[in-house]
């Protein structure tokens, strides 16, 4: 048991899981029924699940998907892509502009998604090329698209906030008739499984980490470092396309100014809360996904507590500062020493 505990308490997932646990306990104390799930009939006549826990997982879908891509980029390039929100605005605009003016059918939606995937991949490759080939700092390279992206989306939309409506889009952003779980959750789970399979059966994960840990030795070992970095941006591009489409389908409208606004910061935060180093190298996708849930759970908690509008960001900041400090190396080391003392084992320092 000791061994298991020791292994677990040394893992980077301790802090995020603990934070999530605290949030859950806090909410249960505040309101016992907070996480109750209800079965209701929605306005389309479908029987669906509802409740805070569904809202949290559903609301975190886009963030979780982006956090996965962001983790890979962080690991490979030792930097972050701050243009994901702007790129999602472009992807969403492309999706909507393909759909508008045609009869919306499933093949058309698939085609629109493919088009928006391609566009997102092109913009991802643009970022990736600047980073991988021109060795520009990721944050600077992606700053270009960060500033220009929403203007490009504006141009695609022709300045308006176009709306699209179809039962099929509602099925993507809401519920598939006869299936009680929100579709964004299903999409997210499918994507997580897909990435997990890719990482398990290819050496993508290994190569990404190696490039992030020591680029030179990776190259000397025959890894195409530039391609690995570029690939991480391409994968993030796919993530961007998926999240953009989900977000458009939720509301049935694209507003280039507000779609997934500030999501880049939340995605980076999710990576950090998940215990991943923003300096690249080793990564843990589970951590990032949990990080995304923590951020969403926090938002929902603040809404439920009716925190005044002007103070929401301050409350969020306080919790995030706490999580970041607890997971900082200094506090972690201290906590590990404390654990060893409590378990009456010699500490690492004494061993040395």
């Amino acid at each position: 048991m000791d061994k298991g505990l020791k292994k677990f308490s040394g893992s980077q997932l301790v802090v995020p899981l603990f934070a999530l646990f605290l949030l859950i306990v806090f909410n249960l104390i505040r309101d016992v029924g907070f996480f109750s799930i209800n079965i209701i009939t929605n306005n389309d006549g479908n029987t669906v699940l509802s409740g805070n826990i569904i809202s949290i997982i559903n609301g975190a879908s886009e963030l979780a998907i982006l956090a996965i891509g962001m983790t890979l980029v962080t690991s490979a390039t030792k930097g972050q892509d701050i243009s994901v929100g702007a790129a999602a605005a472009i992807a969403g605009s492309v999706f909507v502009s393909v759909l508008r003016g045609t009869q919306i059918t499933l093949p058309i939606i698939l085609g629109a998604f493919l088009a928006c995937c391609i566009v997102a991949i092109i913009f991802g490759s643009f970022n990736g090329t600047l980073v991988a080939a021109f060795k520009i700092q990721p944050m600077i390279a992606t700053l270009i698209l960060f500033s220009a992206g929403r203007s490009i989306a504006y141009w695609i939309n022709g300045g308006a906030t176009p709306t699209v409506s179809s039962p099929l889009l509602v099925a993507i952003g809401g519920f598939i008739p006869g299936f009680p779980i929100p579709t964004p959750i299903i999409i997210m789970i499918m994507f997580v499984v897909l990435i997990w399979l890719v990482l398990k059966f290819t050496n993508l994960g290994l190569f990404t980490q190696v490039v992030g840990i020591n680029e030179k030795s990776a190259r000397l070992n025959g890894i195409n470092t530039a391609w690995t970095k570029l690939l991480s941006f391409i994968i993030l591009g796919v993530c961007v396309a998926i999240s953009g489409v989900i977000n458009v389908c939720r509301i049935g409208l694209i507003n280039h100014e507000t779609i997934l606004i500030d999501i880049e910061m939340d995605a980076i935060l999710a990576v950090a809360i998940g215990g991943n180093s923003l300096g690249g190298g080793k990564f843990n996708l589970t951590g990032s996904v949990i990080g995304a849930f923590i951020i969403q759970a926090l938002t929902v908690t603040l809404y439920a507590m009716k925190v005044p509008s002007t103070a929401v960001k301050a409350y969020k900041a306080i919790v995030i500062i706490a999580i970041v400090i607890i997971s900082s190396p200094i506090v972690k080391e201290y906590a590990l020493q404390l654990r060893d003392k409590l378990l009456k084992k010699p500490t690492k320092i004494m061993e040395n």
Binding site: F134, R250, I259, T310
Partner: protein, 341 residues
């Protein structure tokens, strides 16, 4: 491979610069180029052309700012046309200093009228004084600035607080047995948010309406949906959604639909939005929403009348704010007042 990519990128960058550069400098550079030459003929040019063409310089925020601005710019372009007897030069920027420079250029260029929607309220004194010295008449539209009244002919502006009052008065006139309101705010501190919040806040304070929740979604549709979801999950009663723009109202309605709560005329929840986008007004026409308020972006006509008649009724003209009720809205209203498509 790398080389090819590199060349492609450089080409893309250069093209991008050309494309971006073509729009903005055109407005500033053109007057600059004319400026030296313009000095001599300037004195008689306006006299010769005065009867035929009225030269106006329009300094505005870029249409990309918002749907409101796009409608505002389109309105200006529609009214100040050559067919209507105008020669209009325009300059768009979100930055006050760029706007100031453009205004100076327009004055140097010898426009007859300067129409101004300033990005910021400060710093316009000097430019307006030089306009007065040059005999250029200034009209402010949409936004007020901090300058002496004598420096401009008139200001045609919106009264933001008026929109909120109009909407809340409408809500009161519905005579609901009780008012349990979900209030979704825009970005805190923006003009629209302050104006649309104030009237409702007063009702909350007076106790005539109950505040179920008051939260900012910073104009974000998806955020608005989450706020309403959280109220639904808490099982608190509510019968009014007051969203400070159409997008957030749409987000809120998406949450209602998912929770199986009916909304619209004669239904469980009253839905109120702002801006009067065409798609939102169509929701009203379908009786799925109840009310949509508008901050009128149409000031060009009023200014046009003042220029043509030479009469200025008052220094501050408040443009008429519209509020549409789903019961009385017509397709003609949508065509006339709806923004976007």
């Amino acid at each position: 491979m790398k080389k090819v990519l590199g060349i492609l990128l450089v080409v893309a960058l250069v093209l991008g610069m050309c494309a971006c550069g073509a729009k903005t400098p055109a407005a500033t550079d053109a007057p600059k180029a004319d400026a030296p030459k313009a000095d001599a003929p300037k004195a008689d040019a306006p006299k010769a052309d005065a009867k035929k063409v009225i030269k106006v310089g329009i300094v505005n925020n870029p249409p990309s700012e918002s749907g409101y601005r796009a409608a505002n710019v389109a309105d200006m372009e529609k009214v100040f046309t050559e067919a209507n007897g105008y020669k209009a030069s325009t300059f768009y920027s979100l930055k006050n200093d760029e706007q100031l420079n453009a205004a100076k250029q327009f004055i140097t260029d010898g426009v007859d009228y300067l129409l101004l929607s300033a990005a910021a309220t400060d710093g316009w004194d000097a430019v307006l004084k030089s306009a007065k010295e040059a005999g250029v008449k200034v009209f402010l539209f949409d936004r007020m600035i901090k300058a002496d009244e004598s420096l401009y002919e008139a200001a045609v502006v919106s009264d933001m607080a008026n929109q909120g009052t109009t909407a809340v008065n409408w809500l009161k006139a519905q005579k609901l047995p009780e008012y349990n309101v979900i209030h979704i705010q825009g970005a805190m501190g923006s003009d629209a948010q302050i104006g649309r919040t104030a009237a409702l806040d007063a009702e909350f304070k007076a106790g005539t309406m109950k505040k179920v929740v008051q939260q900012t979604a910073t104009w974000d549709e998806a955020q608005a949906k989450k706020i309403v979801e959280s109220v639904i999950n808490s099982k608190e009663k509510f019968n009014v959604i007051y969203a400070e723009n159409d997008g957030m109202a749409k987000g809120a309605v998406a949450a209602l639909d998912e929770a199986g709560i009916t909304h619209g005329v004669g239904k469980d929840v009253v839905v109120m939005g702002f801006d009067c986008n065409k798609w939102a007004l169509r929701e009203l026409l379908a009786k799925k929403w109840n009310y949509d308020g508008q901050c009128s972006p149409f000031q060009a006509k009023v200014i046009d009348e003042m220029i043509k008649s030479g009469k200025v009724a008052s220094k501050k003209v408040i443009s008429e704010e519209k509020g549409f009720d789903a019961n009385t809205l017509t397709q003609a209203d949508i065509d006339t007042y709806g923004l976007g498509e």
